[in-house]
């Protein structure tokens, strides 16, 4: 049974690494925010799988908390992009 959890954890980590690739590649800042959001959601799943793998069910509290923190972080990053004009574009171009 634990071998399947290891395979699932590796698959989730591969998905997270693809998200990191998009976060590095993405031409706009919204691609990066989307990739980090997906990274956080997959991290919640990884913690849940790990909690069942090591038979320590207390780790589900961490997953619960991180799902909320991920959401708040994405909303905060979007507010930063909206309010501060120069954070969204490194070439410092204005919106026309």
């Amino acid at each position: 049974m634990s071998i399947y959890f290891i395979v699932a954890a590796i698959a989730i980590m591969v998905a997270m690494s693809l998200g990191v690739c998009r976060a590095l590649l993405g031409p706009s800042v919204f691609d990066r925010i989307l990739a980090v959001n997906m990274f956080g959601t997959k991290a919640v799943l990884l913690i849940a799988v790990f909690a069942f793998f090591t038979e320590r069910h207390d780790l589900l509290d961490i997953a619960l908390l991180y799902s909320l923190l991920n959401f708040v972080g994405v909303i905060a990053a979007l507010r930063l992009v909206e309010r501060g004009k120069y954070f969204a574009n490194s070439n410092k171009k204005e919106r026309s």
Binding site: A15, G19, P27, F30, L34, M38, L60, L68, F71
Partner: protein
């Protein structure tokens, strides 16, 4: 035994769906298309994996925590996708016009190239 097999199948399906969503995040050419891929597959992947793990639970507290994780993700994931796309549209990021054209085929390429729609960055 049957519970073990069922839980393995569900977790496996969830992981496959997560990989498909991540593949869409890499391969699709536009920000809005990537938001579709991630937003659709993330919630279902979470549901399948948490359901598969919940079948292995030992007490009701564990099942309650898994249900709470799924409820939070089910409520906040569409909201964050909407906030992202709304913020991107108001910032001025527009979708790939040629991508839209291939699916609808109502206008010609000459009409598209002579139009004066401002293109912000975001197209590769």
């Amino acid at each position: 035994m049957i519970l073990d097999i069922l839980s393995c199948i569900l977790v496996g399906l969830g992981c496959v769906l997560g990989l498909i969503g991540a593949l869409g995040l890499i391969k699709l050419p536009d920000t809005y298309a990537r938001t579709h891929a991630v937003g659709v597959t993330d919630t279902l992947c979470t549901f399948l994996v948490l359901l598969g793990l919940g079948l292995q639970a030992t007490s009701y507290v564990v099942i309650a925590k898994l249900v709470l994780i799924f409820l939070f993700l089910a409520f906040t994931s569409p909201a964050s996708s909407y906030a992202l796309v709304n913020s991107a549209w108001r910032w001025g990021l527009r979708h790939d016009q040629k991508l839209h054209l291939k699916s609808m085929e109502l206008k010609t390429i000459q009409d598209l190239e002579s139009s004066s729609v401002p293109q912000k960055e975001g197209n590769q």
